[in-house]
Subunit: 374 residues, 2 copies
C-alpha cells in the first residue's frame, strides 16, 4: 500500500524531548519553544513568532488581535479548511466567502474589492499548497480600505512571494498577521501544532498576553513588571515543550526535507505534464513552490471518482480535499446565496497524490503510470 | 536548591512517543489518545473523556457546550486561575465572582444561591488542591435553578466526593461537565495538556464535534455518515499523539505516583500540625486527598513574605498562589464591587511547599524544620 502521507522523523525528536524533560521544564515557553521561535524569526524575517498548539489556535489569536466582534465581516475563501473561517466565527464574525481562480484554488484577488462593505474588518488569504496568493494586489486593497490582512499560511512554510520591485518575502511575513500548521500532513511536523506570526508592531505586546491566557506573565519573567495578573482576553495557546522539542528536530533538517520533497514534486510534474486529461498546479511568476502538495485537477467529478478507485485497486491512496465552506451544513443558511463555481470545481475535481519524504522513486513511477494509463 | 516542583518521568514516555511515530499517525485522536480516554472513563466513571491541549481548552469546550452567550452570567470563585473565568468571558459571559470559606479556598456553597439571577446560566466550582467542594449542596442549587454545573478539576485527578447516602464519585464526574489539567505542575503530566469530561448524555455527541473543529469527522471515521463537513462551532481542542503517548506512560504509573505523593503530604502534615502560627489544609469528611498540593496559611501577608524569604535563604522555593480575580486589572471595573475577604485572605496568606515525586525525606525534613523554627 502506498499511503497518502507518512510522517517523517529526522531521528532526534525523542532525544530532544528527553533533553526538555531533563531541563526540569516541559510546560510552555521553555528553551525549545524559544529556539524554534528564534529560528523562524531569523530565517523568514517574521517580526515575532509564537508557537501554538494548532494552526486553528493561531488563527484564533489573529481574530482576537484583529479585535473581531459580533457583526464584523471577514472575507475568507470558500475553498479552505474549516478553521480559516471558524476562528473568526467564534468571535462573532459574519463570513463573506470569496471564490478561487478558475485555474488556481487561491482567492481571486480581482474579486475581493466588491465584497467589501462598511462592516468588513479583515481579509484572510490562504496560500493553497504553499503557493502564494497575489499579495501585492491584496495588500493594496487592505491598505485602501484599512483592513487587517491575515495570511493562513498553514501549508506555506518556506515559501515566498516576490514583489514587482524584486523584494522577496516569506509567506506569513507579508500580512499584518499569519498562521502556520505543523500537523502531521505538513512539511515540518509536530503531530498537531502551529504558529502565529506578527508583522505589525502594534500587535506584538498584545500577542504575548493573549498567548498566555490574558496575563502579562512573559513581561514578568523578563523582569519588566513586579507581579503578573489578568489584563486581557486570551487562551492557553502555547504548546508543551514536548511538542517544541519535537519540532526543533524537524527544523534542524528543514533544508534536507525541502530538497527531497521538491525532487518528488518535480518528478510528478515531469511525469504528468503531457497528460491531456488533467490539469497541473499553476505557479505564478511571483510565487515559489515549497512542495507541500502535488495535486491534479480532473475534468469532472465522475472521472476523479473513477481515478481514485483505479488508484485504490492498485494500492495507492489519493485523496480529494476541501468541501466549499459556503455550502456546508453550518454556513449554507448564513451565506448570501452567491454561487462560487471555481471553489465548487476544485471540491469536485482536485485530487492530491501521495507525497512524503520516504516515497520511493519506484512507488512514484507506479502512481504516475497508473494515472497516465487511465 | 529544593525547587517548588520537578516534573517526574516514569521512564516510558519517549518509548511510547516512538511507538506513536512508528504507527504512522501522530496527529490527534490516535491510539494513545483513545487508550488514555478509555482509562479515564473506566477508572473514574466519566461518561465520556476527551483529551485537550490544556485545561483552559477543556473549560472553553464547557463554555461552548453550555451555550454561554453575551449577557449570560456565570458564577466562578475569585480565588482561582485566570482560565476558570476567561474561558467563559471569551463567550461573552459576565462573571459573578464568589468567595471562599474562611478556612478553605473552595467556593463557599452557602453563599452561591444569593448570586443567582435570571441571567445565570452556569456555576463553575474549582476543587482547590484536589479537595472536593461541597458537591451535594451545590448540585441541589444547580438543579433547583436549572443551571449547568461545571467542575474545574484541574488539580483534582484521582480524588473523590462521598454523598450522604454513601455513594462515592470521582471529582470531574459529578457536574454536567468537568475539566482537568496535565500541566507539568500536576500529579499526572504531559507538559501542557488537559481533558474534558462529559457526564450528561445530552452533551456527548456535540462534545466530539466541538473537539474536532466543528466537524462530524469522528462519526465519519466510525462509519456512521458518508462524508464529513462543517456542522457546528468548535476549535482544534485535541492534542498531538506525541502528548497522549507521553500521558499514557504517566497513567500506567498513577498508583505509584499517588502513593508516593500521599506519603510526602502526610509527612508535611505530621511535621507541621503542632505549629501554632500557621493553619493547615482542611479536608472535609466528604472529601478525599489526592496529595496534589501541600499548602500552609500564615496569619498575615507580612509573615508569609518573611517566611518565603527565610526559606529562600535556605535554598527552598515555596510560592504563593492566586491573586483574587475580582480585583484583577482586567475585571476590577466589571466586578460588582462586593468585597470577597476570604479570597483576599488566601491571596495574601497561603503558601505552597515543595511537593514532587523525587522530593527526599531529608529535603522535606529541612523544609519542616525551617518553618517550625521561624
Amino acid at each position: 500500500m502506498i499511503p497518502f502521507n507518512k510522517p517523517y522523523l529526522t531521528g532526534k525528536e525523542t532525544k530532544y524531548i528527553e533533553e526538555a524533560v531533563a531541563s526540569g521544564k516541559i510546560s510552555g515557553n521553555g528553551i525549545f519553544t524559544q529556539k524554534c521561535q528564534k529560528f523562524f524569526e531569523d530565517t523568514y524575517g517574521f517580526k515575532k513568532a509564537l508557537l501554538t498548539t494548532s494552526c486553528t489556535d493561531a488563527l484564533e489569536m489573529c481574530a482576537l488581535l484583529a479585535d473581531i466582534n459580533a457583526g464584523d465581516e471577514v472575507i475568507v475563501p470558500s475553498y479552505t479548511f474549516v478553521s480559516s473561517a471558524l476562528a473568526f466565527v467564534r468571535q462573532g464574525a459574519r463570513i463573506i466567502f470569496a471564490d478561487s481562480y478558475p485555474d488556481n484554488p487561491n482567492i481571486d484577488a480581482d474579486k475581493i474589492e466588491k465584497l467589501i462593505t462598511e462592516k468588513t474588518k479583515a481579509i484572510v488569504v490562504v496560500h493553497y499548497a504553499g503557493i502564494a496568493c497575489d499579495m501585492e494586489k491584496i495588500l493594496e486593497i487592505a491598505e485602501k480600505y484599512n483592513l487587517i490582512l491575515i495570511e493562513d499560511a498553514a501549508q506555506a512554510i518556506d515559501s515566498y512571494y516576490t514583489f514587482k520591485d524584486g523584494t522577496k518575502k516569506a509567506l506569513g511575513g507579508i500580512g499584518h498577521l499569519g498562521a502556520f500548521s505543523f500537523h502531521e500532513t505538513k512539511n515540518i511536523i509536530s503531530g498537531e501544532g502551529g504558529m502565529l506570526t506578527v508583522n505589525d508592531d502594534r500587535f506584538i505586546n498584545r500577542s504575548e498576553i493573549i498567548w498566555e491566557k490574558g496575563t502579562n506573565r512573559s513581561m514578568f519573567f523578563r523582569g519588566e513588571i513586579n507581579k503578573y495578573g489578568w489584563v486581557d482576553t486570551g487562551s492557553s495557546f502555547l504548546p508543551s515543550e514536548v511538542i517544541s522539542a519535537f519540532l526543533w528536530a524537524q527544523l534542524e533538517n528543514i533544508d534536507d526535507i525541502q530538497h527531497n520533497r521538491l525532487k518528488i514534486w518535480n518528478r510528478y510534474y515531469e511525469g504528468l505534464k503531457n497528460n491531456p486529461k488533467i490539469s497541473l498546479p499553476v505557479i505564478p511568476d511571483f510565487a515559489t513552490n515549497n512542495a507541500h502538495m502535488f495535486y491534479i485537477v480532473c475534468n469532472e467529478l465522475e472521472s476523479r471518482t473513477e481515478l481514485i478507485k483505479r488508484l485504490k485497486e492498485n494500492n495507492i491512496l489519493a485523496v480529494f480535499h476541501y468541501l466549499s465552506l459556503h455550502k456546508s451544513e453550518y454556513y449554507l443558511q448564513k451565506h448570501d446565496e452567491r454561487a462560487l463555481p471555481n471553489s465548487d470545481h476544485f471540491e469536485d475535481c482536485l485530487l492530491r497524490l501521495p507525497l512524503f519524504y520516504e516515497l520511493s522513486e519506484a512507488e512514484q513511477e507506479k502512481v504516475i503510470r497508473i494515472i497516465n494509463e487511465f
